[in-house]
Amino acid sequence: MSVLPVSQNKRRALVRSLLIMFGGILVAFALAAHAWDVEVRGPMLAALVVFCVLAVLEFATFDEIAKRAHYIAWYWGSLLGFICIALMQVAFAFDGSPFVAVLQTLMQWFGAADASESFAAGMLFGPLLMAAGFFIVRGVDWLRSR
């Protein structure tokens, strides 16, 4: 006998609650590591793995309309992120562009980076913009469908 609720809606609510709980745990670990300088890499990685599994399970409980909304949000949201990245690349490429001054200010704040650090920062920043695009499109769609 399954311990999960029979109703798909109740199953979805259960998985979502667990997802929010583990999201909270991840944030708590990150804050604890920052505030008290404690070593939490192991537990944080474990929580992240559980979070990812729950995210996949949550997607499996979505009905066709929610799945479609996610596909659309990922397509348009990540495209929006890509366009932002491309525009920034173009803007930074021109000498005398006001964006170059922004880049120089950032370099003063964070310190000059070598090639591997720049690559790592790019790897983080790109998906971050795509995820931001996803949340913007999903948020607009959610507000419109209320």
């Binding site: 109703s7 798909q8 809606n9 009905d63 309309i65 929610a66 469908s145």
Partner: protein, 70 residues
């Protein structure tokens, strides 16, 4: 695509949440179908027809067909 989901639901005194539970979809999804923002897939349309015990064509109709009938 037009549908009579709201009317049929009202005839049975079901809320959107009641219908959502019967169809195993979210209440927002029922609302999206009712307001015409989303056309359901064939499997979901058949499920809706089964829940209301009606043939699909009595629930859903193409815009042109509905306009011609009016």
């Amino acid at each position: 695509m037009r549908n009579r989901l709201k009317v049929l639901r009202a005839e049975r005194n079901w809320s959107q949440a009641d219908l959502a539970d019967k169809l195993d979809v979210s209440r927002q999804s029922v609302n999206a179908i009712e307001t015409g923002k989303y056309d359901p897939s064939l499997p979901l349309a058949f499920k809706i027809a089964a829940v209301f015990s009606l043939p699909i064509e009595q629930i859903f109709s193409a815009d042109e067909v509905a306009q011609a009938a009016e």
